[in-house]
């Protein structure tokens, strides 16, 4: 109740206040998968990150789940995946531009969640 000067008179520059939040098919479904949001922020925090680094960061995640979540995020264009022709193999994940923007918007949520959850 800080600033309700807006009334509900529907200013024309806000074409979608409520209606928008309900049709979010792709992105919200993606973010609703397990570890998706944390993953974005973790990769954002440790920069180009190898698979093993990411796996170690989470305490309890199976490799199959982590792998498919990474694939999801790469497919959706929020993470980039660079594979080097080395043995043992090396793969680095990093945020794309869209991923960085997403990370920025996720940050306040996760910070608050971290404070609140512990």
């Amino acid at each position: 109740m800080t600033e309700a000067t807006d009334d509900r008179s529907e200013p024309s520059d806000s074409p979608c206040d409520v209606d928008c939040y309900c049709q979010l098919n792709g992105l919200m479904d993606l973010l609703s998968r397990r570890y998706a949001m944390q993953l974005i922020c973790v990769v954002g925090a440790i920069g180009p990150a190898r698979y093993g680094e990411i796996e170690d960061t989470f305490e309890s995640v199976s490799s199959s789940t982590l792998s498919s979540r990474l694939d999801d995020l790469v497919d959706a264009g929020y993470l980039s995946r660079e594979q080097y022709a080395e043995i043992p193999p090396r793969v680095e994940y990093d945020l794309t531009d869209a991923g960085e923007e997403l990370c920025r918007r996720l940050q306040p949520l996760l910070e608050w969640a971290a404070d609140r959850d512990v």
Copy 2:
């Protein structure tokens, strides 16, 4: 298993950077359920909201899913539920203080998602 040995070759310029985002059990699991984030923002947008109003706002959500999601959010303390002894029944949902804070932090994400998804 070694524990709490900070021999990572990382600069300690981040107080609570990576480790925090991975232990988020409760809240992130809750928000990862379908429609949970949208629900918070919708209730925040239309104020005290009746069940039917919420249902109408979403185009495709089954009543069972909506009902359990509302229960989840009420149990977690982000929504309040007020039931009136009338026929036909009337129930109103609203954000609690924690819910409002959550909504505030969800806002930038959902706005961006709405722009991007359409």
